[in-house]
Amino acid sequence: MGDHSLRDKRATLAEAASLVKDGDHIAIGGCLLSRTPIALIREVIRRRPQRLELSRNLACYEADLLMVAGEITRLTTSWMGIGLPWGVSKVMRHFVESGQVEFDEWSHLALGLRYRAAAMGLSFLPTRSMLGSDLIRNKQVKLMADPFTGEQLCAVPALRPDVALIHVHRADRYGNGQIDGYTHMDADISRAAGRVILSTEELIEPEELRRHGDRTTVPFFTVDAVVEARFGAFPHECWGAYDADFDAIGEYADAVAVDGPLAAKQWLERWVLEPESFADYLALFGDDRIAARRATAAELLA
């Protein structure tokens, strides 16, 4: 990639999503119900990509939607469920148990170290995680001796996604991205991925961003496109900005608990394929519902 200059990378959701190509490995930022880049994922699914591989530290039902859309062949994760109160997803079970999607399981730290190794420009990192477990039956893992002490360690290979989708609180037009609250694995993912697409709650002026450079988790030179998408993680949470809408998540969980992949397909139609724009999608929730989640976030962190 040649041009590392400070250049304007503002894009529409459609322009940004066009950076995802068939066969890509896409890494999704955030974690489970937190800062899931819903606006970007919606747009990627709508473009009908083929044979994607997906990685996420804890995967939620966004992975269900990519499965029923027939767009992914492999999921690399440490855990996938809808969330503790809602249990394991019947949709994930259907696709994995029938062999349509491969479930590539790592411990949470091991997956984090795979992204970090790539972020560090190395081919692996060592850890004690997964030693003595069946997780190291995974053929991508190698056992090694610590060169100084001789201790047996588990070497996990760098994971270099083709594309990363990350939602942040604020960014400037160059792609400097700032996250409030926990950063999950997003700093490492942004450095590990070949292409990085940011969606942001708010686009701010570079001068304003520079006043708080210590808050910048994603530096501009890792980023390829930045899209303003207010409420871009909804109905998942965005730290301090809005709480997750548990009713929406519960509604999905109830539907798939009964009808499995069929319900997920209907969900895909209603929330991803039918609403053309992200504004149309948000309108399905309505302003009051979003305002209520904003109020809860403020109350929780007060």
């Binding site: 399981e105 949470h108 730290l109 069946d134 609250g181 730290w239």
Partner: protein, 242 residues
């Protein structure tokens, strides 16, 4: 008010009593977090809770228990918010005294399966997976396994070993308390929950276990402990969800 405690309450109370003051506990959401906050509110006010989402020392609001380790309710007023990888690297560096685990299958050595039921290459049930469980099992100094006591859960041989039992020190159930300190390293029953006899436990356990020479009877949950749990859950076992 009924004095009969639920399974979840018995587990939370029994687990909380194992936590010493002044330590760091790595807790997941659900019973582990309830047990840890209960300990803070009873005998261990200087216990610090650490959560997978990169969270140290949160102040969980009563009636707003988190549904995941990575949401605002879990991170509220934390003294540190960092990344997931960093919090687990602190675990690997040896900072955390206790870790809590549960699991779909548990063997007599405290090894745990949360990955698959059946043949791993073509599972009959694909479970959610390790998440941080393998890391907690490997890196926390003492691992407390807390689970409802069900025969199908306690198996001689796991279908898949997700989390090794190397650091397991206690197995807490609604029927009994076990350690792994016997010469065989197999689960050894050291205490019974009140009103439970040894035969009940044997009938409800799918593997053979040892018994300590002297078996104690655990104290039932006190009204103080149950009241604190009620308050935390916002009354009547409610969570933030629906």
């Amino acid at each position: 008010m009924s004095s009969v405690a639920t399974v979840d309450e018995i587990l939370a109370v029994s687990a909380s009593r194992l936590l010493e003051d002044g330590k760091l506990v790595f807790a997941g959401v659900g019973t582990p977090l309830l047990a840890s906050i209960l300990a803070q509110r009873t005998h261990a006010p200087r216990l610090t809770i650490v959560v997978e989402g990169g969270i140290v020392g949160p102040d969980i609001k009563a009636g707003e228990l988190p549904v995941s380790t990575n949401e605002m309710r879990a991170g509220r007023h934390a003294s540190t918010l960092t990344s997931i990888t960093d919090i687990f690297l602190m675990a690997q560096a040896g900072f955390f005294d206790y870790g809590f685990l549960g699991g779909a299958q548990i063997d007599p050595y405290g090894n745990i399966n949360t990955s698959v039921i059946g043949d791993p290459s073509r599972p009959s049930i694909r479970l959610p997976g390790s998440g941080g469980a393998n890391d907690i099992a490997t890196h926390c100094r003492e691992v407390l396994i807390v689970t409802a006591h069900e025969r199908r859960r306690f198996v001689e041989k796991l279908d898949f070993l997700t989390s090794p039992g190397v650091n397991a020190t206690r197995l807490v159930t609604n029927l009994a308390l076990f350690d792994f300190a016997g010469s065989s390293r197999r689960a050894r029953l050291i205490s019974l929950q009140p009103g439970v006899d040894l035969d009940d436990v044997r009938a409800a356990t799918g593997f053979e276990f040892e018994t300590a020479e002297q078996i104690r009877i655990l104290e039932p949950p006190t009204t103080g402990e149950l009241g604190a749990l009620d308050e935390l859950r916002g009354g009547a076992g409610r969570t933030a969800v629906r």
